[in-house]
Each structure stands twice: as structure tokens, then as C-alpha cells.
Amino acid sequence: MLKVANLVTEFASIKALNDISFQAKPGRITTVIGANGAGKSTLLRTISGLERPTSGSIKWFDEELTDKSVEAIVRSGVAQVPEGHAVISQLSVAENIELGGLFRKRQARGDLEIATKEVYELFPILFERRREPAGSLSGGERQMLAISRALVARPKLLLLDEPSLGLAPLISAQIISIVDQLCKSTGLTVLLVEQNANTALAVADHGILLALGKVVADLPAKELIADSALRAAYLGY
Amino acid sequence: MSKVKTHKVIGFRSTRLAIIFFVFILLLSMKFGPYNQFQLANIATLLIAVLSITLLTGASGQISLGQGAIMAVGGYSAALLVTRLEISMWLAFVLAIFVSALFGLFLGLAAARLSGPYLAGTTLVMALAIPSIAIRFDSFFSGDIGFSVDYGYPPDWLTNLLGEITIEEWSLYVALPFAALSLFAVLNLSNTRSGRTWRAVRDNEVAASLAGINIARTKIIVFVCSSALAGLAGAIYGFRGLVAPSVYPTDLSLLLLTAAVIGGLRSIGGAIFGTFVIVFLPDVIERVTKFLELPETISIYLPALMIGLLLLLTVILNPRGSAGALEHIRHRHKH
């Protein structure tokens, strides 16, 4: 269970997260929506340790994450797929995937091989292009690669930042349904950030609406989809 | 508040500060014996070179490890003009400023394309290569031997005014007005609009270029101004007696950078402080080693060790130098 309580993250002059509290159920998808600049990426980056919060707490089961380093957080089972298809374009596809599991190469070499095989089965196109530089992939393939890099670490909590950014609706629906299946089959907990609420909320258990660094709605996903007045006020559609 | 008004106020302030510096050094020299008077002359000369770094690094963020080579350009220009064309020393100094500014223009054309570490390395190569030109073309630059040049004699009107003037006093009287003028010029420059432009480029090139500042031109102008100062310093420095490759070694470039860093790369007061430190520190250390009767192997290298440590400590403890530390203390007192 992920418990975020009274989280505040500040940049020079602005409070990007202003007293945020919510919970995400284990084995489920929790979707975070909000307009540009609402603080969605900052929320994920604070959970994964890339940004230091000014105050508040982030608890992943019994572990407090706020005082740990990024590396330690990742090693305790939290993986983030950052915004914008973050892969290392000069490295090959296979190297990008290898990178994701590198930290557990010593303890779990066998499982790492299985995990690598699994992501190649999930995204066969990556296997075909494994020797090519990641920079030569299309946007959708890069997103698949970024997710694969996170998955080989065998995370228990996956933080996905706008996986459908810049992708055709069909491909983004495909990616989201793969994530959904993973959740159901492996008990993975997912925090999914999206601009386009409908597909993301359809698979989610719970929806959180952020505006100007505050939680303005925290509802079961179905209710959030139905509440058109709320969406119109904060998202404009 | 209008721009014109700010400018006037600042012009007044820089005039006052330059005069205070001038008078302060003069008063100090009256308390000193000949050796320390000569050291004061060194301070006045090297201050000009240190200011050239403060201007360059502090105002634009660019770093040059080759200010000594530019000093050599100034020194050789003045020495050649005086020995070959037999023009007056004062005129030669002024012409040396122009020659080194021109040199700075070429350097700036290259530097405009370079950022931090590239520029540092390139200027370091330059610091090594330029003195070797004098050896390569030794019929023109007279090789290792160099040119013997000096400040000559004080004019009659000055001796009539002040009475007997020693060599040490005269070298101070030659260097000090130039130092005060340079101080005035740098103080003014860094507070005008162009000074603000330079700092914008230093802090964020992308933002500055979006604000319509021509980055390349700005960098070139900074280099020209800085080289003009360094060239002047080099000319005065050489006329203490000798203009030769050995007078402008790479270590001189590094020493000047140290002075600028110790004082705080952005502060002109810091430049003055740093110059005092590099000139007087070896003397102080010599006294200490004599007092403690340290072996010679240690005492030779102690000044270099102290200067290296000072450089490191400054950067680690307070990258803004002693000026930054002072500000910090003052700030605390207010609260």
C-alpha cells in the first residue's frame, strides 16, 4: 500500500505539490489526472526520490521513502518510467533493457534472464530490434522500451508518467492494456499519470484529480469518469 | 528610476573608490621601506592583470588560464616600440593596450565558439606557446635574452615637487595611476548596461540569447576589454627591467587566477585583496620559515603549497571568495 501524506514539494518560488495526501491500493491501478503544470510529474518524481520534498511523508508499506536516495528507492521495488519516452538513445535496445536489471545482476542472474525474456515476449518488436540503437525506435517503441527497462527490475510499484504522450490512440490503448494485464497477473501496483483521462481511468481502480499542486478529487475511477462537471472545471473537456 | 540617473551615481562611486585606492597605496608607501615600496608597485601592476580576470570570469563566466601570455603580448609590444622605434614609454604603454586589445579580438573570435573547459584548455596551451614564439623568432624578439627596458628617470617637475625620488618610488608612481584608472574603468563597466548584459550571458546563455542578447558579440567584447587590461599590466610589468619569456611563465597566469579566485571572482574589492595576498604571502612565509628554521627544501615550495591550498579552500568553503565570506558575515549580523 502506498500512503502519501501532507506532501509538499517546492521549487525556487512555487509549491508544485501543496499538501498532497492520498492512498494507492496494492495490485491496482491508480490514475492521476490534471492539466499541464498541475504537479503530476513532480508527484511521481518526489515518490521516486528525484525531487526532495519540503515536508510530508511517502510510505510504501512500512518503508518511509522520503529520506532515501533514488537508487535505494529503486532497489526497494519502486520503478519509474519518466515523462517523454526516457530511454538512452545512444545505447542499443538490449543495453537499455540490461541497464534496468543491472543492479540485481549478482543476486538474481537467473530471474533476470527470465524477466528479460518476458519483456521481449510482451513486446516482440523490441526483440527484433534489440541490436539497434534506441534512438532509431519510433515513439511507441521507445515507450515500450522505457517500460521494459522498468519491468526487468521486477518492481512492486510502477510509476508511469504519461505513457501515451505523443502516441496514436491505438498504441496508447495497447500499452495501457498491457499494464492492466500485468497488474492482474503479477499483483503490480501502478500509479498512472495521464492527460487523456478516459482510457487511463477505464482500467483504473481509483482516480485522483490534481490542480495547482492540490488534490481536488479522490474518487473511484467510475465516479470520476461520470463526473463531467468536475472534469469540465479542471480539465476543460 | 531612469537609467541615466543610475549611471551617474555609479560613475561618482567608482571615481571615489579609485581615488581612495590611489591615496591609500600612496599613504602606505610612505610607511614602507624601499623593498615593500617595490612590492606595492608590483601590487599596482598585477592588480590590473587580476582585474582583467575579474572582468572576464566574474562578469562573463569565461575562464582564461592564459592571462600571462596576453601580458607578454603587451610587454613585447611596448618593449619593441621603445627599443626599435625609440618612442616614449608612456606612448608605448598606450599602444600596447591597443595591440593586446587587437590580440584579444582574435582570441575572442575563437573564444566565442568555446565554452568553459575548452576555453580554459585552449588558453593554457596559449600560455605555453606564446612565450615560445619569442624563442622561435629570436632575431626579432631576441629569444631568451629578451629586452632590457626600464621606467627611466622621473621627470624634473616631479622631482622639483617631491624632492629626491628613489627607483622604488618611481616604479610605484608609474604603476599606480594606471592601476587606479583600470579600477575606475572596471568599476564603471561592470555597472553599466553592458556589464549587466555580460552577467546575463554568464548566468544563462540560452535565456540571454532569448532575451535578444548577441552572445558571440558579447563574449568578444569582454575578451577585448580584458585583454587590453592584461596587455597594459604586461607592459608595466616588463618595464621593471626585462621583457623576456621567463618573465611571463605559465605560473604567472595561474598566480593571477589564484588572486582573482581568492578574492572572489565577482568582486573588485576581492581582486585588490587577492593581489595583496599573492604578492605579500611569499614574504610572510619566508619570515615564518626563517623563524622556524625549516629546511630549504620545504621553504622553497611552501609558497606554492599555500597558494594551491588557498585556491582549493576558497573553492570548497566559499566559491565566492573572501568577498563572499565577508558578505555572508555581514548578512548574519543583520539578522
Binding site: - | 568553459g116 615560445s132 565566492r320
Partner: protein, 303 residues
Amino acid sequence: MNSFLTAFFAGTSQGAIYALVSLGLVLVWRGAGVVNFAQMGQAMFTTYIASQLIQNEYSYWSAFVIALISGALLGALVDLGIMRPLSSRKNSQLLNSQSMRTTVPVIASLGILGVLKALAGIFWAGEERGFPAPVPTTGLRLGNSDLAITGFDLFVIGVVFLALVLTTIFFTRTGMGLAMRASALNPEVTRLSGIRVGSVRTLSWAISGTASSLAGLLVTPKTNLSPNTLDLLLIIGFTAAVVGGLTSLAGSVLGGFILGYVIAFVNVYSAPENVFLAILIFLLLALFLRPQGILGSKEVRRV
């Protein structure tokens, strides 16, 4: 013909040494964003350590190995003791400005250089001394004719070749090598992969320290050893790195060999006193004609 061969072999063996120096510079520049002007000061120091050991009757090879290990330790120490604390001072006002972030480590490295030189002077009296070579430095003979290459030249080329092969294997075949490449290219994604980027950075300082320490051991039998002897090597290595592309490891090695040939041919066909000037001209030409270097990538180098 004979002078051509002399220049060619001298260029190859000197170029091999320059390649090591330039490789060391590029490793730290890519891995930590610092051009380490103290690099050859570190190498000078470890060569003195080796020289001291040999004086104390240690064998050449044990001194050789200890010098390489001290090179690695010194490199790591520079990072842990000075560069890392510097880069973690994010809120320091001076480091907030873009250009100063690269300038301040350069200044720190100059301070380290000064301290190392002064310490070497104090410990080892600072006078020039010779440094032994494990094989003869006289010209080889084949039958009756003198060859233009010495046994030591061959030794240098062999050792550097071995070092370069090992480095290549390390970077392309091992997980640690992958982690180092990744953290140089994109530290954020690398950290999100659970890799301790700080330790990886320290490792690149250590490898760079070892490479330059090796360069020091290989060059001093010809140049002798004093606190200042290796300064020139830094200048040449920097030029080689820029020529090859400051961001490319392969480019840095290539640049080293190019510089080796340029300097050897200037030495043989022109005069030794032209070498400095040749380096400066070559550097300026490289910067004007191909600022990203021969193998450097354009987008990485922000001008």
C-alpha cells in the same frame, strides 16, 4: 626514408602515451563533466612513488603495479574529497550560474595541481631525476642495419595496446562498463535503474587516474622526472582530446595518435622549438574546422 621511419615510430610510441592521457581526460569529462587539469599532476606524483620504491630496492614491476594502484586511489580521492562536495553545493550562488558550473571544478583542479607539485617538491627535493625502463632504450638492430625503433618503443606500444583492449572489453562487455556509459549519457535514467551514479562517477575518476599514471610511467624514461615534466603531456593530451572529440573515447585515442605523429614529424622535419607553436596552431585549426572533434557527436557539445 630513414628519417621518415624515425618520425613514424617515434610518433607511434609517443602517440600511444598521448592516447592514454587524452583517454583519461575524456573519461572524467564524460563521466563527471570536469576537465581535470590536475590529471598529470596526479601522474607525476604516482611516478615519484614508483621512483621512490625502486630506489628502496623494490623491483620495477612491483613499483609499476603500486604506481597504477595509487593512481586509481588518488583519482578516487580527488573525486570523493573535492569534486563531489563541490558538485553537491547546488545552492551556492556561484554554482547557480551556468558557465560557472564548469569553471569552478576547473579552478579546483588547478588548486590540486599546485598542491601536488609543491608536495612532490617537498618530498623529493624537486630536482630532475631519471626513471628506469624495463627494457633497453637503445635502437634495435636487425642483422647489420639499425632499426629506427627502440625496444622501449615496442614495450610502450605493447603496454598501451593491452590497456586499450582491456578498456574496450570493460566498456563493451561488462555491466559496470554499461553503467558507466549510461550514467555519462543520461544520469537520471541511470539512477532510475537503481545504479549508484555517484560511485560510478568515482570509478571513472579512478580509471582515469590509472590511465594517466601509466602514461607517467611510460613517458618518464625519456623525459626524466621533475614536478613539472608532465605539464606538457597534459597540454598535448587536452589537444588530442579536443581533436578527437571530447565526448568520444575512441576519438580521444585517435586524437592521441594524430598528435603523436604531428609532434614527431615537426620534431624531425622542422625543429623541436616549433612544437609548442605547432600544438597551438593544430588546436586552433581543430576548433575552427571541426569543433565537435573527429568522432565527437554534435548535439552533445554545447557551445
